[in-house]
């Protein structure tokens, strides 16, 4: 459980406590030659540096307070005076801050590292004589670069040094560092601020798009933004260099060859799939690509070279039957820039392998329970009875309404990868006395609602009284109660998730049955991959 270890208050005489909008932590060099984590914040106090190891007003290293009180009217700005002394630039209000170390060239021409902060907010600039306090004249959106490279000595004030200032064309909603470039989110486009000379940050361009208010960099260097602007929710990405992206269907339908989904699983793909290879940007000259299919431990399972690219795009058909140890595989392609003969970086796609698990009441406690009825492969028997039609034949009329619902048992399909219409089906294989006539129907409600809640029970009765009616408009739904025409009931298009059905076997003799999930392979024959043993008890007439 998380606990609050320290609270650093920023009391103000006007509003009680200063409101801060962004907070970052970073390691700062210390006078003893080591480092210590300090906090940097932006907000109503435009720039704050604090030591989380200290408490009370002494924890705030910058700005200085007056008897522990931080004045916000007027607020103490970050102030940068131009080298010629004629112009002052002010940051009066901070919105977002990024902290990092960038390479810079010193006066001697050497490349050195500089610890900086880039803070965005509201401010302005003007003649140094008249521009000394907030609000700044002709204020607007600004960015300020702050030098944090001075060594910190605990208990001593820390004076961040503004070194660069830039007026922004629009308000910033986020800022992150990527090398010597500050990426500034604006809600739509992302501004690119060149920090090669921290004293002279410049607007180097922008990435057009709808990146939203918050942005981040992925581990492989992609810029990622998300937006929910009322017209839709979207994620937008951008790359800063040509890459080769591979897109395979994920999650990908597979059978569990050994292990369990949570313990040492080994999967085998059940169908061939088409993967798309895309060079981004598409204008990058590339003629062909090489794709590889690897396990997470980098064991190469399959490789295909010379995949032709047209307009930067190619495709490849991966065959079924690829065995993968683990619950995911990596698909990655590479290519070569034909103009400069330089390799184009390939992005690895993590392809999740998912199967369709069949879960039943394996512990025979009359309920399908997440905790006890784990999808174990072919190792558990489910005991139940054949639906007893004795009442019909003996013309017994005192059976309760909806008594037939007691003859159904829940079959849960845990679909970890989407399946197409009729791609998978259910089959019952019998021994000895034969299979019997069996049915599977849509289940209404959850758990045992169909037995225990009157309204749900009546709805369920209506469903099982309806014939089989699958359609493309109703994924996961059988439309009523189905019985195999030949030897299997095909499922409609299945979405990822948990779907439950009710199963019964009508007048089946006692004995073992095997319930199978099957899929059609290209030849049209059936392949099963999940089996459940089903033992019908000798409820009546052995």
């Amino acid at each position: 459980m998380d606990t609050i270890a320290n609270t650093i208050s920023l009391p103000t005489p006007q509003t009680g406590t200063a409101t801060m909008f962004d907070l970052k932590a970073d390691d700062f060099a210390t006078t003893s030659g080591g480092s210590q984590t300090l906090l940097v914040a932006a907000g109503q106090l435009p720039f704050v540096v604090a030591d989380p190891q200290l408490s009370g007003s002494s924890a705030v290293l910058y700005p200085q307070s007056s008897a522990g009180i931080f004045n916000t009217n007027p607020v103490q700005p970050l102030l940068l005076t131009s080298p010629d002394g004629t112009t002052n630039s002010l940051l009066c209000y901070g919105s977002r801050v990024a902290v990092g170390t960038i390479p810079v060239t010193d006066a001697s021409g050497n490349t050195v590292s500089k610890h900086i902060a880039v803070v965005t907010g509201l401010g302005g600039n003007g003649p140094s004589a008249s521009t000394t306090s907030c609000p700044a004249p002709a204020g607007g959106a600004v960015l300020m670069v702050v030098d944090l490279s001075q060594a910190y000595s605990q208990g001593s004030p820390f004076a961040p040094k503004p070194v660069g200032f830039l007026q922004l064309p629009t308000s910033a909603t986020d800022v992150i560092l990527n090398g010597t470039v500050a990426l500034v989110a604006t809600g739509t486009n992302v501004l690119l601020i060149n920090l090669q000379n921290p004293a002279q940050p410049t607007l180097a361009g922008q990435i057009n798009g709808t990146f939203g208010n918050g942005i981040a960099l992925s581990a492989d260097g992609f810029l990622v933004g998300s937006v929910n602007n009322g017209s839709g929710k979207a994620v937008q990405t951008a790359t800063f260099e040509p890459v080769v992206a591979t897109q395979c269907p994920s999650p990908l339908l597979a059978s569990l060859v050994s292990g369990t989904p949570t313990q040492n699983p080994v999967y085998k793909t059940v169908q061939s799939v088409t993967c798309t290879i895309r060079v981004v940007p598409s204008s990058t000259p590339a003629a062909s690509a090489t794709i590889s299919w690897k396990q997470v431990d980098q064991t190469v399972l399959l490789g295909m070279s010379n995949v032709p690219l047209a307009g930067g795009i190619g495709s490849v058909l991966l065959p079924a039957g690829i065995k993968v140890a683990g619950s995911a595989a990596l698909a990655q392609s590479t290519s070569v820039n034909t103009e400069n003969n330089q390799p184009i970086k390939g992005l690895a796609q993590t392809v999740t392998l998912g199967t369709v698990n069949l879960v039943m009441d394996f512990n025979n406690d009359s309920v399908v329970d997440d905790a006890t009825d784990l999808p174990l492969k072919s190792s558990k028997s489910v005991a139940f009875w054949a639906s007893d039609a004795a009442g019909k034949f003996l013309q017994i009329s005192d059976l309760a309404d909806r008594e037939n619902l007691l003859d159904y048992v829940t079959v849960r399909l845990e679909v970890a990868a989407p399946t197409a219409q009729y791609q998978i089906g259910l089959r019952v294989v019998g021994t000895g006395a034969g299979v019997g006539r069996w049915f599977i129907a849509d289940k209404v409600g959850t758990g045992l609602d169909y037995l225990q809640i009157s309204g749900t029970s009546k709805q369920q009765q209506s469903v099982v009284s309806s014939g089989c009616s699958t359609s493309t408009n109703q994924p996961n739904m059988l439309g009523g109660e189905c019985t195999p025409i030949t030897d299997m009931v095909s499922f409609p298009q299945m979405t990822v998730g948990t779907h439950e059905y009710l199963f019964r076997c009508d007048l089946c003799s006692s004995g073992n049955r095997t319930l199978q999930i099957v899929t059609k392979i290209r030849s049209g024959t059936l392949r099963y991959w999940i089996k459940r043993i089903w033992t019908f008890d000798s409820f009546r007439n052995g």
Binding site: D365, G391, S457
Partner: protein, 406 residues
């Protein structure tokens, strides 16, 4: 599931429960049993095709293990008995229920000897069957193992007089109407009517009746011993510890319902699930206890004709109930005494109290199922709501049954 029956070709139950043809026997590996006993007016097709399946399935969905694959490796057994022998004469079936207790007691003993524990649930008059069996195990003195093997017994709407569970009948339990009826018409408990008849038979005017009475009891075809003693009809009392299975005493040992099953709750964990809405018990059973006595209205049991002596339930075939050959000589009819006690109990002693299935009874744990009994709102399902009502309407009641069966 297995189904056993006590039915025979006659009105007398078989001495041993028999497997119903077409049903499988109890699996040897079974270590525990659920025993289901149906109630009144259930023929065998209905028992095996409707009652047992419904109870079996509802118990399963309530979470009671009923299949060998479930916790405790249980097996479920239905007990079928002749509870529909007479459509109009209720005491005949009540007597049949009492008699079926004999083979059921044997069944309990056999299963206990195999190391099996048993959970029992009975409906309506089926509770007379089970209580009779338990009382036989207690009286015999040899049923300790079997009694210990019955871990729980749920009585649903028991069609058993409440007074049967009271060692001393509480007058506050008495129905005013019942007392008035019995006192006024039958002489109970003051036997005035029978004493008058007996005294009349001593007079010359009715001496022919006395001769006929004696001739009947001593005829070659009347083999039950000891003979009924007409003047003691209402005065004989059951021994405090119950009548033994074999009693050669000269005085028939019989008596009212009071305390007949009073010892049962001391030996078995019993639960009474009752409904004060049960119109079957409060109206039909009520009337049956009184009005279907054979001497009422045009009944022939009087100083002129002895209906009792003509009943098939008193002949020598009763001996078969205990596995003995049918007695053909009076001295061999060792069970006649107790058989007649039961028969007379059912025929001649109307209950003075309500049925136990209509209210809580002491000292049995009682659970009020009235909310699940629709009563007059649904006459077809009152009394039998656990089976006939849609499961969704009564599943909370089945949850309580599950708890009681633990």
């Amino acid at each position: 599931m297995s189904a056993f029956t006590a039915r025979s070709q006659t009105s007398i139950p078989q001495a041993q429960l028999q497997l119903v043809p077409g049903w499988t026997d109890i699996k040897p590996e079974a270590t525990s049993l659920n025993v289901i006993v149906h109630g009144y007016a259930v023929d065998q097709p209905n028992a095996t095709g409707s009652f047992f399946p419904a109870y079996f399935k509802r118990m399963y969905w309530a979470g009671v293990p009923v299949l060998p694959a479930q916790k405790g490796s249980p097996q479920t057994v239905g007990i079928d008995w002749q509870g529909n022998g007479s459509a109009v004469n209720w005491p005949t079936d009540e007597f049949s229920a009492l008699e079926t207790g004999v083979p059921l007691a044997k069944f309990f003993g056999q299963q206990a000897a195999l190391g099996r524990t048993m959970k029992v649930i009975a409906h309506s008059l089926g509770n007379m069957v089970v209580n009779s069996a338990i009382s036989r195990l207690i009286v015999s003195g040899t049923g300790t193992q079997a009694l210990g093997a019955i871990t729980s017994f749920v009585m649903n709407e028991p069609a058993v007089p409440t007074e049967a569970f009271d060692a001393v009948l509480d007058p506050t339990d008495l129905s005013t109407l019942l007392v008035a009826h019995a006192t006024d018409l039958d002489g109970f408990p003051f036997d005035q009517e029978w004493q008058t008849e007996w005294q009349n038979m001593q007079t010359p005017l009715f001496s022919a009746n006395l001769t006929q009475w004696n001739d009947t009891l001593h005829s070659p075809t009347y083999i039950t011993r000891p003979l009924p003693q007409y003047p003691l009809r209402w005065r004989q009392e059951r021994p405090a510890n119950g009548a033994p299975d074999k009693d050669s005493g000269t005085i028939p040992q019989r008596g009212p319902w009071v305390g007949l099953f009073a010892s049962n709750p001391k030996h078995v964990n019993m639960t009474n699930t009752f409904s004060s809405n049960d119109t079957v018990l409060s109206v039909i059973w009520f009337a049956g206890e009184l009005a279907e006595k054979p001497d009422i209205l045009v009944g022939p049991d009087n100083m002129v004709s002895q209906y009792w002596a003509a009943l098939t339930n008193t002949d020598g075939n009763q001996e078969k109930l205990w596995g003995d050959p049918a007695c053909t000589v009076a001295s061999a009819c060792l069970h006649a005494n107790i058989v007649r006690q039961w028969a007379e109990l059912a025929y001649w002693f109307p209950s003075l109290s309500d049925a136990a299935g209509t209210h809580a009874i002491n000292p049995v744990t009682s659970i009020d199922f009235t909310p699940y009994d629709p009563s007059l709102a649904k006459p077809a399902t009152t009394h039998s709501y656990l089976k006939i009502s849609p499961y969704s309407d009564v599943y909370p009641a089945w949850q309580l049954v599950k708890a009681a069966l633990k």
